[in-house]
């Protein structure tokens, strides 16, 4: 058996059904004769390839397999890999190396790929012999999918694929995820939570990834705890309409401390404690309150501003904690029984106010009105993939209402959202997926539209087109008042997202009049392939850093 055949066997054992990639000569030996059960999904630029795989893995809840071409392909993909790592997305990334027999000459395309990748990924595996290729993929798979998930690169010299393999090397073994932290620690945590005068929970992406939002709700209700979303959280981990939900924390140290002021005990679950940007001086935790962290991520544990960290599986730990906390309910009495009503009233009023100037609230409310319909039995709600940048806080407020319904990049890197939405829809064709992106963000990896059209991916893409990098204008205005105009490179004239979409096999329409918006969005939702709605939104610079 050749290494390639052993790899094919491994693909079957791991039930891999899709391989996202962009090939080059060094990967042809890997791809030749790929079993028909594994669909090769071609992306035309590596950033799009990795981001599609990321969205796919997150929506499917299992690792994605990726192929990249040598040093240039890896180079193009680094930003997206960095994002996948921050997203904690399990991903195995095969990168072709030059033929090992002349590597010492540093031939075309060759580089130390392990070194190139290392700062941006969870790990690198380099099989030393053809016999180890399949085992290297298994190792990468296990490493990628053990919490915290992340991309693991496998560097394979091109000649290895036709080399000999040893059977039995690459079983699809199981790694059981870490379970509950030590009993006494859980016990102590439960005691602290029960004993607190006004406990608070900060709920982060690992909760949603573990499908444990329901447990977080249960915990919050039993404790009557105030609940916050983690700063810049890449997922929705708590129902936004819940009366105990207070909103998401702002990613600035004093802002976080201010929000948590008055909570004598804070438990952060499944999030870094804390993700901050931009820099603001001050404490993260308010004086007089104690903060603990529950995480499945040792690195998060190490850098947290927590007095105590419980390392364990998020789901299992929450279950154990609920058991210890007991059944008694402390909330949400005293709060309005329908916390969402006032919020929805404000949103709808805000949308009416924003209509005339085509403000983002009007666009989002129009979208939401189209999305909000009764679900069929067993049907899941919409999934919104957000790279709306300056409008992201609004996208979260309007559309990230339910756990499992929202994705954004945890890294701050652009060029992810559109492609990730394509990948998510590939993983979950029956689900309503949509992308909401800035005009700037749209252009970092638009090639994903081509893949979407080739694969018949029905994806509405809403481009909030404000003609520039609004968030950077906002930043400049806040940090250098009066000198914002002196910052070059923040305008985007002469772009046509609709024609770009059409050139890549999709369709699109530009919307300038408020009355045209709802029909355009409805049309995009009915389209068979990718459909870009390029909305000429309000260009005034929002105040995001003041």
């Amino acid at each position: 058996m050749k290494a390639r055949e052993a790899f094919h066997l491994w693909l079957e054992r791991r039930e891999v059904r899709r391989l996202f990639g962009n090939p080059g000569s060094t990967e042809v030996p890997m791809l030749v004769g790929l079993p028909a059960r594994v669909r090769f999904t071609l992306g035309l630029q590596e950033a799009a390839v990795v981001a599609m795989a990321d969205g796919y893995a997150q929506a499917a809840g299992r690792p994605a397999l990726v192929e990249l071409h040598a040093a240039p392909g890896l180079g193009n993909a680094i930003g997206a890999l960095f994002t996948a790592w921050k997203n904690r997305t399990p991903m195995v990334v095969a990168v072709g190396q030059q033929d090992s027999r002349h590597l010492h000459l540093e031939p075309l395309l060759a580089a130390d790929m392990a070194e190139m990748a290392r700062g941006a990924v969870k790990g690198v595996v380099e099989p030393a012999r053809p016999e180890d290729v399949a085992a290297a993929f298994e190792r990468a798979w296990r490493l990628a999918s053990t919490p915290p998930g992340g991309p693991v690169v496998v560097v394979v010299p091109s000649d290895f694929w036709d080399g000999p393999a040893e059977s039995g090397m690459a079983e699809a073994g199981r790694v059981e995820a870490p379970g509950t932290p030590p009993h006494e620690a859980v016990e102590e945590l439960a005691r602290r939570l029960r004993g607190a005068g006004s406990p608070a929970l900060v709920v982060g992406a690992a909760v949603d990834r573990a499908g444990a939002a329901g447990l977080a709700v249960e915990l919050a209700e039993r404790l009557g705890a105030a609940v916050w979303g983690d700063p810049l959280g890449p997922r929705a981990s708590f129902p936004r309409d819940h009366p105990l939900y207070r909103g998401e924390l702002m990613p600035g140290a004093p802002r976080i401390a201010q929000a948590l002021l008055g909570s004598d005990f804070v438990l952060v679950v499944g999030a870094p404690a804390f993700l901050v940007y931009p820099f603001l001086p001050g404490p993260l935790v308010p004086p007089g309150s104690e903060l603990w962290l529950l995480t499945d991520d040792p690195a998060e544990a190490a850098r947290a501003v927590a007095e105590r960290v419980l390392l364990g599986g998020v789901r299992a730990s929450l279950e154990a904690l609920l058991e210890r906390v007991g059944e008694e309910q402390r909330g949400p009495e005293g709060l309005p029984p329908r916390g969402g009503l006032a919020e929805r009233a404000w949103q709808r009023a805000e949308a009416a106010r924003a209509r005339g100037r085509m403000g983002v609230p009007f666009v989002l409310e129009t979208l939401r009105a189209l999305l909000e319909r009764p679900l069929a039995a067993g049907e899941e709600g919409w999934l919104v993939v957000d790279e709306a940048v300056s409008a992201s806080p609004l996208v979260r407020r309007w559309l990230a209402t339910e756990p499992g319904g929202y994705l954004t990049a945890a890294s701050g890197g652009l060029g992810w959202g559109l492609a990730a939405a394509v990948g998510a829809k590939l993983a979950r064709p029956e689900r309503r997926v949509l992308a909401v992106v800035g005009d700037g963000a749209f252009l970092y990896a638009p090639q994903a539209l081509w893949t979407a059209s080739q694969e018949g991916v029905a994806l509405p893409v809403v481009v909030l087109d404000n003609g520039g990098y609004a968030i950077l204008k906002s930043y400049a205005a806040a940090y250098y008042p009066g000198r914002a105009d002196a910052t070059p490179g923040l305008e985007l004239p002469g772009l046509d997202p609709v024609r770009l979409a059409e050139a890549l096999g999709g369709r699109g329409v530009r919307v300038e009049a408020p009355a045209d918006l709802a029909p355009a969005l409805a049309g995009a939702m009915e389209a068979r392939g990718p459909f870009v709605v390029d909305v000429a939104v309000d260009r005034s610079v929002p105040h995001l850093f003041e």
Partner: protein, 305 residues
């Protein structure tokens, strides 16, 4: 001048009950205001009466049964006061949120209530306003409040079409949901057997703690004793009331004398401009009648002419 409009007809003005009793026997058309009730015994004398045109929005002061028995048509003036009431509600909302009345009283009494002001003056922006009754006035109120940056809930037996809700920025809610979620509740519905006592003690108890109530509609919509109690206890932060039961309210009426209540004498809809609009509309209707054209805002259809 009016006489000139009503060529060929005599115009008689009655300002007292006695004058009315004397003149009503000859009158074919009666223009009436709420200050003088048209009771059954008065209508008894109106042998020739065919039309009662109310120069106002409400017809509570007309004994409609007596009118019906005599085949008299009753018409009112709808909408002429909507703008005035809506402006009044905006004024009341801002005044309540700022603690305007309390501060004004203190200043007149020689104090400098800045500390009190700073502890209790609030913005309207960001608040949720609940509008109960989304008729003509409710809509005017909502349209004027929208630019203040508020959220708007409304409750009505009839829901507006979705496009209209979206254009006005309105969110429909059941009454209890509205009461529990609004920082400010304003009433704009007619008094009917169904709405009498709508805000009883139980419903008042469901209003969000610390919220404000504005009533420019009818006093009988609210249990005044329960309201006074909620205001006294601080359960409600304040109220602006334009209507009372009875009117005028006696000196010891429970809603008089509370520090957090803003009172006006059932005048929200009768600004000078509104009075002009009402008078014009009433005269217009009378001319229609005299010309044999159909009337606007008919409340009670009389015997055919």
């Amino acid at each position: 001048m009016l006489a000139a409009l009503f060529r060929e007809h005599d115009l008689v003005v009655a300002t007292t009950r006695e004058e009315a009793e004397r003149e009503i026997g000859d009158a074919e058309v009666l223009v009436s205001t709420a200050f003088h009730p048209l009771t059954a015994d008065l209508l008894e004398r109106a042998h020739r009466l065919r039309l009662i045109q109310v120069a106002g929005v409400g017809v509570d002061h007309v004994d409609l049964e007596a009118a019906r028995a005599r085949g008299v048509t009753v018409a009112a003036v709808a909408g002429a006061n909507a703008v005035s009431v809506a402006e009044h509600v905006v004024m009341a909302a801002l005044a309540l949120l700022r603690g305007l009345v309390r501060s004004d009283r203190a200043l007149h009494a020689g104090e400098w209530p800045l500390a009190d002001w700073m502890g209790g003056a609030h913005d309207l922006a960001g608040r949720t306003v609940g509008v109960v009754g989304m008729g003509r006035i409710g809509r005017e109120v909502a349209a004027r409040l929208l630019p203040f940056g508020v959220g708007l809930l409304y409750h009505d037996i009839r829901r507006l079409p979705p496009e209209e809700e979206a254009a006005l920025g309105l969110t429909c809610a059941d009454l209890d949901g509205l009461l529990a979620s609004s920082d400010l509740v304003t009433l704009h519905l007619p008094l009917t057997p169904e709405t009498r006592g709508l805000l009883d003690a139980q419903r008042i108890g469901r209003i969000k703690p610390g919220a404000f109530l504005i009533n420019t509609a009818r006093a009988e919509l609210v249990d005044e004793a329960a309201l006074a109690e909620a205001l006294r206890s601080g359960r409600l932060a304040g109220a602006a009331l334009d209507v009372f039961h009875p009117e005028p309210p006696p000196r010891d009426h429970p809603l008089r004398g509370l520090p957090n209540v803003l009172l006006t004498p059932h005048g929200a809809g009768v600004t000078v401009e509104a009075q002009e609009r009402i008078a014009q509309a009433a005269v217009q209707n009378v001319i229609r009648w005299l010309d044999g054209r159909p009337l606007a805002d008919v409340v009670l259809e009389g015997a055919p002419r």
